[in-house]
């Protein structure tokens, strides 16, 4: 089929990609205006065929009259209604009621292993045959090929240990914080309920982290070490299929707002974000597109690290008597910001590493008393970290990024997206808890084990935006999203619930030192 547009021809077949179509369209330079129109036309024609519907496309489709004209008489602007979707919050898992810290952390590991052992046994049988021997460590016999299931422990020399630091015989000075604590001399050990055994063999020990429950296939050698030939993880849990949606609905994910910090540049970006979501920015097309944003999720670090008063406890009281904590003003600004948002869209607010809530995972929701203005609205939902909810049948699960950052420190993986996938494969949100990541001493349960596969799995406060759609062994489909830190990247993400795709939105402005081109990740 040939489409004749202007001075060029365009041919397409079904399955033609939209960008290919544009590339083959030669434009007459004199028709620049026409060019733009045609590109838009092509987008409209092809994007649905490709199955990709970006927010820009949705907004462009409903183009209304241009706003570069005089106001029409007596005409009030159009008003779109915010789309409202069924929402269910699964908060019970991560709420800690009565807290008792007089317990040992061993109970979590016991609960973890107990819950994951049957899952791993099943996976092992699927992978290595149903007649594979699954043995406990105490029953191991040297030379026998079998499979063992247990918790990994990585002994790292560089791992900060408070016992070493305060021990006088070692005479160690406190070590500075490092980016990574892995080294060549690390050892992997597998522990089960009763015993532990050193592992060696062909596997990438740098990728493994303490606390992951795995199944290992190999044999015990005479020297007491277990030679690994293969290993497998619990992999994705089962997933209830998501409903087929008829129209495009979006959920906006943002994190790392960093209020109270010294980076004033991001405030304008934040204001643009709020204006866009509440439908003030843009013309009618954009506003109607924004009305399809059904929810906003703020994934942690609403306050900047600067608001953390490190020396509050050490400074003399007479010096700090009249000074207000840095977080007080920042929370007030946050409350005003949230008020603008909640008046127009339901918002879920997750706490992060620098927010005023408890430090250990699972972080409890921020208290509504801090938000006197915005908590008057029932669209404000203060939720825990990790967060799990179902929006219009699409299951969201994610954290504010502490678990990913911790794994990044203790393994060789650098990409947040890769780590996210790894945790999904391990079927555990935060395997390093409680070893290196603060965690509440649970007694008979480990709430971080994934029991149902989410459709959207995210982590906040990543350095850049990344997203990927992965498929599981049982037909699961998960969208992995790493939400970038807004204060440094001015970027947020939009997840399209219908197509399960994620698109970044970036907000830029101009400043004195930048002349023209604004790159995506530049904060002016």
């Amino acid at each position: 089929m040939i489409i004749q547009l202007g001075s060029g021809d365009l041919s397409y077949d079904p399955g033609f990609q939209a960008d290919e179509a544009e590339a083959s369209f030669f434009v007459n330079k004199n028709l620049t205006g026409f060019t733009i129109l045609c590109k838009q036309l092509l987008q409209v024609i092809f994007c649905d065929a490709c199955g990709k519907t970006m927010f820009s496309d949705v907004s462009a489709q409903k183009n209304g009259p241009s706003l570069l004209c005089s106001p029409a008489s007596e005409e009030q602007g159009p008003t779109f209604e915010r789309i409202s979707l069924p929402y269910e919050l699964y908060s019970d898992r991560y709420r800690v009621g009565q807290r008792s810290f007089s317990r040992q952390y061993a109970h979590i590991y016991a609960a973890r292993l107990m819950q994951m052992r049957p899952l791993l046994a099943e996976r092992a049988q699927q992978k290595w045959g149903s007649n594979v021997l699954i043995k406990k460590l105490c029953d191991l016999e040297p030379g026998e090929q079998c499979c063992i299931v247990g918790t990994l422990f990585k002994r790292m020399e560089l791992q900060p240990s408070i016992l070493k630091e305060i021990s006088e015989e070692h005479n160690l000075l406190p070590q500075p914080a490092r980016a990574k604590y892995i080294s060549e001399a690390d050892e992997l050990i597998l522990e089960d309920e009763l015993q532990r055994i050193k592992l060696e063999g062909k596997f990438d020990k740098d990728k493994c982290v303490t606390g992951s429950v795995v199944a290992i296939y190999g044999a015990e050698k005479n020297d007491g070490k277990f030679t690994v030939e293969d290993f497998c993880m619990a992999d994705l849990p089962l997933q209830t299929p998501r409903p087929a949606l008829s129209s495009d609905r979006f959920v906006l994910l943002a994190s790392g707002l960093g209020l109270g910090g010294h980076n004033a540049d991001s405030m304008l970006g934040l204001q643009l974000l709020v204006d866009m979501v509440t439908g003030q920015l843009g013309d009618t097309g954009e506003q109607s597109g924004a009305a399809a944003i059904s929810r906003v999720l703020l994934a942690g670090n609403l306050l900047s690290q600067n608001t953390q008063d490190k020396d509050a406890s050490t400074k003399a009281k007479y010096l700090t008597k009249k000074t207000q904590a840095g977080s007080v003003e920042a929370i007030r600004v946050l409350d005003e910001l949230l008020l603008q948002l909640v008046a127009s869209v339901p918002v879920d607010v997750m706490p992060g590493q620098y927010d005023p809530t408890n430090y250990t995972l699972p972080q409890q929701p921020l208290h509504p008393c801090m938000f006197p203005l915005s908590s008057a609205y029932n669209t404000l939902q203060l939720v825990s970290n990790p967060f799990e909810a179902s929006i219009d049948g699409v299951r969201f699960l994610g954290t504010s990024g502490q678990n990913v950052c911790d794994i990044q420190r203790y393994s060789s993986m650098d990409s947040h997206l890769e780590i996210l996938e790894e945790t999904l494969q391990l079927r555990h949100l935060a395997p390093t808890a409680p070893d290196t990541l603060g965690c509440y001493p649970f007694y008979q349960k480990d709430p971080f084990i994934l029991e149902e596969c989410p459709h959207v799995y995210f982590s906040g406060n990543a350095p850049t935006f990344e997203s990927k759609l992965i498929k599981g062994p049982d037909g699961q489909e998960v969208l992995l999203v790493t939400i970038p830190e807004f204060s440094s990247t001015q970027t947020a993400c939009l997840v399209n619930l219908r197509t399960l795709q994620c698109e970044p939105i970036c907000f830029t402005a101009f400043s004195a030192d930048k002349d023209e081109e604004n790159e995506m990740n530049i904060s002016h």
Binding site: I36, K39, M54, F55, S56, D57, S59, A60, L67, L68, S70, P71, A72, S73, E74, E75, T79, F80, E81, R82, L268, Q271, L272, D275, M276, T278, G279, Q280, L281, G282, D283, T284, G285, S288, G289, L339, V342, A343, S344, V345, P372, L373, A376, Y377, N378, T379, T491, E503, P504, I505, C506, F507, T508, A509, F510, S511, A512, E516, M520, H524
Partner: protein, 432 residues
């Protein structure tokens, strides 16, 4: 559309040398944001045709942008001179409109943020009113209702069979659709409206008070709302208690009264010294009676309703009720009509009279009509001992201006402890 807006924008830009963004214009003029954007564009064209002094504008461009193979939706503010360049770099333009107009060339976009911040700050409660998206689910829930929802499992306390009074029912029935007239109403406009409605019904009992309270509430509601909310949770308990007391009082004071004004006129009067609308006739006598009664315990219920709105965290404003009654005496006629129009009116009209007397609790209360002074005085007075002080407090609270209320409220809490029995000390704080 009349061209007045052109003059308005002109005034902002040229005379005040301000930066006019579409958002500040929309909030200031009360127009839809899209209209504001078009207004700015029109103004720009208009001025440029006239070759007036140099004007600069910034534009907002949104669209699709491809960066290293990754497409993103980009929203940017650009200077006018960068506009075309920017547009050419985008792969798909979704919208372009004027963002701001100013006299000086902006090197940095920082000032744009402060302009918007100030504009929004001034209109915090209705910042989304002129936007293009309305969310039907985003409804502010009054803190009162929330408290009720929280306290719902608690059975209503005390009221010994006072189901008749609205206040009681209001406070006790969480599911009660209307926020309590008295206490609750204070916290939100909605409740105020509702209270007013309910007060219609319960005229005899609360009429004036709730009405007054409500109206007073409505006025300061907007401004006081944030503060109210802040105090909401703290005062909720007090309100509940206050209401309870009120209920008690009410029941004692009068037999269950229907919402009819005619019923128990006398008693009602006592309760509602303020019911300006209804009672023009018995006021004097009733007020006196009520004064005495109120000082005892009956005060409690009524002051609650009126006081609550003004001072969320003060004890039930029963005393205030009685107080109000006294001043009301003086300005009766004025009040009835003003009760619904607002506290301010009442206050203005009230004659400034100074009355000093001893409460039942031995507190000295000085009333000066509805001056703010009397406010704080009464507030402090009744802060400590509930009974006696509620009256004056309530009286003052209602008619007082919002600022006064707030001031007195703030002072009252601070000085409540100190001012327990020392009314005179309170005088120091009043003048502020």
């Amino acid at each position: 559309m009349d061209e007045l807006y052109l003059d308005n924008i002109d005034e902002f830009v040229n005379d005040h040398n301000k930066i006019v963004t579409y958002k500040s214009l929309s909030l200031t003029l009360g127009v839809h944001v899209n209209t504001a954007k078009q207004m700015l564009y029109h103004y720009l064209e208009h001025k440029r045709k006239e070759s007036s002094p140099q004007l600069h504008a910034t534009y907002l461009v949104t669209g699709k942008f491809v960066d290293n193979g990754q497409t993103c939706h980009r929203v940017s503010i650009v200077r006018e001179d960068q506009l075309e360049d920017f547009k050419s770099k985008m792969s798909l333009i979704v919208s372009v409109h004027v963002y701001s107009v100013q006299k000086a060339l902006l090197k940095d976009s920082g000032p744009l943020y402060s302009v918007d911040y100030d504009a929004v700050k001034d209109h915090l409660q209705n910042c989304s009113k002129y936007s293009a998206i309305q969310c039907p689910g985003a409804v502010p829930v009054s803190s009162l209702e929330r408290q009720q929802a929280l306290n719902a499992p608690n059975p209503p306390q005390s009221e010994p069979g006072n189901s008749g009074t609205n206040r009681e029912t209001n406070t006790t029935s969480k599911a009660h659709p209307r926020p309590q007239k008295g206490i609750m109403g204070m916290f939100s406009k909605k409740s105020a409206v509702k209270s007013q409605n309910t007060s219609e019904e319960v005229k005899p009992e609360q009429k004036d008070e709730p009405a007054v309270v409500d109206s007073a509430k409505n006025k300061p509601a907007a401004k006081a709302n944030p503060m109210m909310n802040f105090f909401g949770s703290q005062t909720a308990k007090k309100s509940v208690k206050a209401v309870k007391e009120e209920a008690d009082q009410t029941s004692e004071r009068k037999s269950p009264q229907p919402c009819e004004k005619s019923d128990g006129a006398a008693v009602q009067h006592q309760k509602d010294p303020r019911s300006k609308t209804k009672r023009a006739e018995d006021e004097d006598s009733e007020e006196d009676k009520m004064d005495k009664k109120k000082r005892r315990r009956i005060k409690k219920p009524e002051p609650d309703s009126s006081d609550e709105e003004v001072v969320p965290d003060s004890p039930p404003p029963q005393e205030a009720l009685t107080r109000e009654r006294s001043p009301k005496k003086e300005t009766e006629t004025v009040q009835p009509s003003n009760s619904h129009s607002g506290v301010k009116v009442r206050k203005r009209r009230r004659v400034l009279k100074s009355r000093t007397y001893l409460d039942a609790d031995g507190c000295m209360v000085t009333e000066k009509g509805f001056e703010s002074e009397s406010y704080s005085e009464s507030e402090e007075d009744f802060r400590a001992p509930k009974a006696a002080q509620r009256e004056p407090f309530k009286a003052k609270a209602n008619p007082g201006s919002k600022e006064d209320d707030k001031k007195s409220q703030k002072k009252a809490p601070a000085s409540s402890n100190k001012g327990g029995k020392q009314a005179s000390i309170m005088g120091f704080f009043q003048k502020k």
